[in-house]
């Protein structure tokens, strides 16, 4: 089974893959923590969140397959596309780093995902709306978990505060991309399928600003400028994620597991 090339995917398919790829790659990153977390409770929590994300990815790939109409499976999308065909935002592929990096990345993403899912519960794509309704509940838990840690670490010791500042500085540049509206998104917003990023950004900002405030950390002012994920132009990290993730399917093409 060879590499899957999607020649000019429809905006609807493209949008579903963006959503799904975000979920899969973030879930993959979080799953790397399993067995290595700072405490047993966090091993369990991070694995739990990873599972939520991977579960959402699977439902979204299923929906993508229905739209696509070529009988592809979730695994075709996950295991047979190269990095240039992956459409996740850059934020989710950033390395786990220390626990502060993981928490900051998670809060930045989950604070975006929560209003996104909330808006998508009203999507004209009813299957997507149903997935969003389930994911919204999970995202609420993710925001609480990462928000609590954001505050604990920001308002903890000098060391934890310094680590949080470093993590924020390294991840903030990737937050602007979350609210980009290209032709794919704008068209689908018009059709009532996609959520409008312009409406999500202030909600995201509100959640994140409250966490910064309570943690006693300074929120950067400039809008994050790093972008490219939605058109398959990734950081150098994604290739390694996919090498790991896809190796068995690539080494034994066509086998079922």
């Amino acid at each position: 089974m060879s590499t899957l090339v999607l020649s000019s995917p429809s905006p609807h398919l493209n949008y579903l893959l963006r959503l799904a790829d975000d979920q899969l790659i973030l879930g993959h990153r979080l799953s790397e923590w399993t067995g290595h977390a700072p405490m047993l409770e966090e091993d369990i929590a991070l694995a739990n969140i990873a599972l939520d994300h991977i579960g959402a990815a699977r439902s979204l790939y299923d929906r993508a397959s229905e739209i696509h109409g070529e009988g592809l499976t979730e695994d075709d999308y996950a295991y047979r596309r190269d990095a240039r065909a992956y459409l996740n935002c850059l934020l989710v592929e950033r390395p786990n780093g220390d626990f502060a990096h993981t928490i900051v990345r998670q809060l930045f993403y989950s604070a975006f995902a929560l209003p996104l899912w909330e808006a998508l519960t009203r999507s004209a794509d009813e299957t997507l709306a149903a997935i969003a309704a389930k994911s919204e509940k999970e995202a609420r838990y993710h925001v609480r978990h990462s928000g609590d840690w954001f505050i604990r670490l920001g308002d903890g010791t000098d060391e934890s505060r310094a680590r949080m500042e470093a993590a924020i500085a390294s991840l903030w540049p990737y937050t602007g991309e979350l609210f980009e509206a290209d032709a794919v998104v704008t068209g689908l917003v018009g059709e009532g399928i996609a959520a409008d990023p312009a409406a999500i950004e202030p909600l995201w900002r509100e959640t994140v600003a409250a966490a910064f405030e309570e943690a006693g950390l300074a929120m950067p002012i400039a809008r994050g400028a790093q972008t490219g994920g939605r058109s398959g132009r990734h950081t150098e990290h994604l290739g390694f994620i996919l090498a790991d993730l896809q190796y068995l399917q690539r080494a034994y093409p066509g086998a079922s597991w």
């Binding site: 966090e42 695994d75 903890g156 060391e159 934890s160 086998a255």
Partner: protein
């Protein structure tokens, strides 16, 4: 049973039997559960702390060989199942540390012993997971062996341990079925997949058999544990049960047990295996298995690199408590 139990009674300084001890044994013999606040002989407490802590450590270290394949699992369904399984193991570790804490030893103390290499855990987790088939093999054989060991523990005389085991066994038997299904899929797959499954069975069979511990003749803790009803069956009895259950499962899917001496004994109705390499068992238990050093080092690294997180959580909790107290005072 009772006379055997009497042999275990601690004597007072004047050589008399502590009457509390006789009452304790009578309760154990009557199948009553011993609870944290009840009197118990020191030996009973020590044996239980040792066994439950080792059990908890096994769950925690056991997350590593399987966790090793999470990012490389070959399908999203398998990946999700594996993450859920490893998450369950973390949960089992938590229950068990809690059960051990009811006996007066703190989780921190137990953790320190683990990362300093002073605590034991199941010998099986010192073997490496080299292929995807190893993940199925761990579910089928390792969890299968664990269940054989653990089902009788659901009736263990110490209440908190018995109750933890009831919860754990339910999840373990699910993992075991999942593991067997995974191996079944490989055995029915391409020739490469079947070879992968056979190779994994070749490497995991004997270590799984060793999970039941030394033979009865050499088991130092057995007699007392049986009298105290911590243990219900001997190592060799459980091992035989496992072999009898597992050999037909392997044959059913066309895999061969890597034991030229394996034969079915019509007379006893049991499968009889060849010699177990007890030297290897002792070597692995003594710290010289293929992964002992790596496993402990990985756990230690997680513990050390997470220290600042735990300190921050503590510092924040204290700050918050102080602020809340100050606010309450101001409001009063």
């Amino acid at each position: 049973m009772y006379t055997q139990a009497l042999n275990n009674l601690d004597l007072n300084e004047d050589g008399a039997v502590d009457p509390r001890e006789a009452r304790f044994m009578a309760r154990v013999d009557a199948e009553e559960r011993i609870e944290p606040n009840d009197f118990m002989p020191e030996g009973y407490r020590k044996t239980l702390v040792r066994q439950i802590a080792q059990h908890a450590h096994s769950e925690i270290i056991g997350m590593l060989p399987e966790g090793n394949w999470i990012t490389r699992a070959p399908s999203l369904r398998r990946k999700a199942a594996l993450i859920a399984k490893v998450q369950d193991e973390g949960g089992h570790g938590l229950y068990l540390y809690c059960a051990a804490e009811t006996l007066g030893k703190s989780r921190e103390e137990m953790m320190d012993e683990l990362v300093e290499g002073r605590a034991k855990y199941s010998s099986i987790f010192n073997y490496p997971t080299l292929t995807w088939a190893d993940i199925g093999m761990i579910g089928w054989l390792v969890d299968g062996a664990a269940i054989m060991n653990q089902i009788p523990l659901c009736r263990c005389s110490y209440g908190p341990y018995a109750r933890a085991m009831i919860r754990i066994c339910k999840e373990e038997s699910f993992h075991q079925r999942q593991g067997y299904e995974q191996i079944m899929t490989l055995a029915a797959g391409t020739p490469e997949q079947k070879a992968m499954a056979q190779d994994a069975l070749d490497r995991w069979w004997w270590p799984s058999i060793m999970m039941f511990g030394p033979p009865d003749a050499a088991s130092i803790h057995s007699a007392k544990s049986m009298a105290w009803k911590i243990k219900r069956f001997t190592n060799d009895e459980l091992r035989q049960k496992f072999i009898d259950a597992t050999v037909p499962q392997a044959h059913r899917i066309g895999l061969e047990i890597p034991d030229p001496d394996l034969r079915f004994d019509e007379e006893s109705g049991h499968w009889v295996i060849g010699e177990i390499d007890w030297d290897e068992f002792n070597r692995v238990l003594a710290g010289d298995g293929p992964c002992n050093a790596d496993r402990v080092a990985t756990r230690k690294a997680a513990q050390e690199s997470g220290a600042w997180v735990r300190e921050a959580a503590l510092a924040h909790a204290e700050k918050r408590a102080r602020r809340d107290a100050a606010e309450a005072k101001a409001a009063a």
